[in-house]
Symmetry: C2
């Protein structure tokens, strides 16, 4: 194979470990100098390719690249930008080929969730549609854990650990306060369509009866009377009630609970915030004093409490992507495969990008308890390995050390400007 | 000194390290068996004393007591209950003496913030007013860092570290997303009257220009036009804007911004949530897409990312309280004293409970920048030592190991029931 440059970019909502995948890609590419010349990162995902906005990673030291492994966020900038089909927007594909050719790019590594794998799939078709040969590998990432074919999505394990740890800690706080003060704690978590993150709150439990007492999934229609009854019973049994609720909790009519709130001072419908909505519902119906938290970005950026297993997975899919490309594979995505057996072990598998794109993997019904407010033992068995191990970053001045990239831009060679 | 039992209790909002103070009290008391017989913990603070609801700590193993050092929340239950004055409620004081006498209690250790030190002070007067000799020592604790006389309050350093780390991590996330999506991240933090916690967001910075870009303090009246201008400028300069805002941010008329929100679906004024309020203000005025987080209990319970210095302080004030009592001191509270000099070092000092009670220590004006939206170098110098060092708990099954107490109750000997 002729020696070409590689393009790597990050796409969609970022995670605590997406840079560990970047580290896997870059370190592995550097280990194959006979195959891959330089790695160029797209500044802000595919937009970097379209606008010829490329970061020359060869200018970054090994130490900086190694530090990506413990740096949250997307070091090269991400984007929410979906390529339309070739028929709809041929102009974009022509531009991509123009940029790839100008910079001798023969490898395309795209690190993202379902939408991003769709983009990777579309780019992989350039070889046929446009006659420009490019090896195209998707790299899985999403905190929502909703990618198909892979046993789990890198990024999820660390959010799951954050939610489990935070739920445990906040529950201990609430238990101390409930005699004379707050009786309800509500933790709102991400996962608009899939309840995997909400489910991970259950991992806070060590013994039966431990909090959380209620989990609200987006997959199960919110049953208000049953919910309120369960809150009441929990306060009766334990003196308090800890609730983990998905931002995607839904009314029977399919609308989000979070959108049922009132108007703000400007007359806008209050966006987001299912936690305060449910808190007010409980206060109104049962009279209990409450506290609520919305962790938002904190949960998916919490590299300081990342799962070591997740970091390992994230690095491995980045490494595998490069190895796949060098082995001549194309239009595939490395996956995490859980081996059979009692003790958790895993290997790398692969999935075709065509099959991955735009498919969402929800919680199976048998991972949710009959009552709809808890997980089953099977779900716990699935989740538990994913939060194992700690991988704390180094600290300096009391805060984590993060990679500080030089981000030297590749000189533009195209005269034409392209706007997205 | 005759051998007496000791009473220890936790009061007010709990912290990530209040149990480290408990550990300091108990381990030190056990080291002086000639002076202190058993330690009884009040179940739910002073209420445990009033209702004769006592936990026999002598039944807990050394390993369990040692584990308190890495267990957040209040292991013995806390309370929000303020003793009224002797004149107003003589009945309560008579009951306390009854319980103390029945259980041979000669030491009273009360672990809490300003209100709790007021309770400790009132109990200390029992010797004079009721003729029952009791040695009474307050132990400082509060995440708000608003206790007077002490250089800092145990509990604060760990919240400060949590806020600094979380702000750093969320900022890296936002920086990745800002090109095509979210441009604003708002982090709401505790501290209704004092801005110490908000100030600690600034410790997320390594270099000039690093986020957060705006800090909103409760001590400074919220200047809406200046705030919006600063948001706009930050987005212009950096592409995004990170805001750390105190829940106690105030309008010019003294009302809380958080109370300026709309009504919820039940017609109640939306309580709490200055972050969503300000987010909507920015969206309405400037049109930027936002994310916001309200960490609530997560910040004060986050033992997993506690400051090692804070854990050390918390243990030390617990230990000092017992040493003070044995040395014959009374009606005092151990304090943290910062030694002069470039490098941070500290010793234990003492303050009179009479002077401590109900005094709040706000941010000095020269710790806040002239513009009112940042801290000064002097403030950074003050804060930085308090978040130094990591003291992670042990983990099992992916989550922190916490103390599981047997909580064996001391047999009640009084016939009379007392309701609070």
């Amino acid at each position: 194979m002729a020696k070409k440059n590689a393009f790597y970019a990050q796409s969609g909502g970022v995670t605590a470990v997406i840079n560990a995948s970047a580290c896997g890609v870059i370190e592995t590419a550097r280990a194959y100098p006979d195959h891959i010349n330089k790695v160029y990162a797209g500044h802000n995902g595919i937009i970097g390719a379209l606008t010829e906005d490329l970061i020359d990673i060869s200018q970054e030291s090994s130490a900086t690249i190694a530090a990506l492994k413990h740096t949250p966020g997307g070091a090269f900038g991400s984007c929410r930008y979906k390529l339309r089909s070739f028929e709809e927007n041929q102009r974009e594909y022509e531009r991509l080929v123009q940029v790839f050719r100008a910079h001798n790019i023969g490898y395309f590594f795209y690190n993202g969730g379902g939408d991003s794998q769709d983009t990777a799939h579309k780019v992989s078709q350039i070889s046929q549609t446009m006659g420009y040969p490019i090896t195209c590998i998707g790299i899985p990432k999403t905190v929502d854990n909703d990618l198909p074919f892979t046993d789990c999505s890198p990024g999820f394990g660390s959010v799951a650990k954050y939610i489990a740890v935070s739920t445990q800690e906040a529950s201990l706080d609430l238990a101390s306060m409930c005699e004379t003060s707050t009786k309800i704690f509500i933790m709102e978590v991400m996962g608009r369509h899939a309840g995997w993150i909400a489910a991970s709150g259950a991992l806070a439990r060590c013994e039966a009866g431990d909090p959380p007492h209620i989990i609200v999934f987006p997959e199960i229609v919110f049953d208000r009377p049953a919910f309120l009854e369960k809150v009441k019973q929990s306060v009766k049994d334990h003196g308090y009630c800890v609730i983990v609720i998905s931002e995607g909790a839904r009314n029977p009519d399919g609308t989000f609970l979070a959108d049922s709130g009132g108007k703000d001072a400007f007359g806008h419908t209050q966006l987001g915030g299912v936690a305060p909505f449910v808190a007010n519902m409980i206060k109104g119906e049962l009279g209990y004093k409450y506290h609520w938290a919305v962790a938002d970005y904190l949960q998916r950026a919490a590299r300081h409490v990342a799962s070591a297993m997740d970091v390992e997975h994230a690095y491995a899919v980045g490494k595998a992507a490069v190895e796949f490309a060098i082995a001549g594979k194309n239009a595939v995505m490395p996956t995490i495969v859980r081996n059979p057996g009692e003790a958790y072990s895993w290997t790398i598998g692969e999935a075709n990008l065509a099959a991955v794109a735009n498919v969402e993997q929800m919680m199976p019904r048998d991972y949710i308890s009959d009552c709809g407010f808890d997980i089953t033992a099977a779900c716990r068995d699935y989740l538990l390995p994913l939060i194992q191990g700690e991988a704390p970053p180094p600290y300096e001045n009391g805060i984590p050390v993060v990679a500080r990239l030089k981000k030297i831009k590749v000189e533009k060679v195209l005269n034409s400007h392209f706007s997205v």
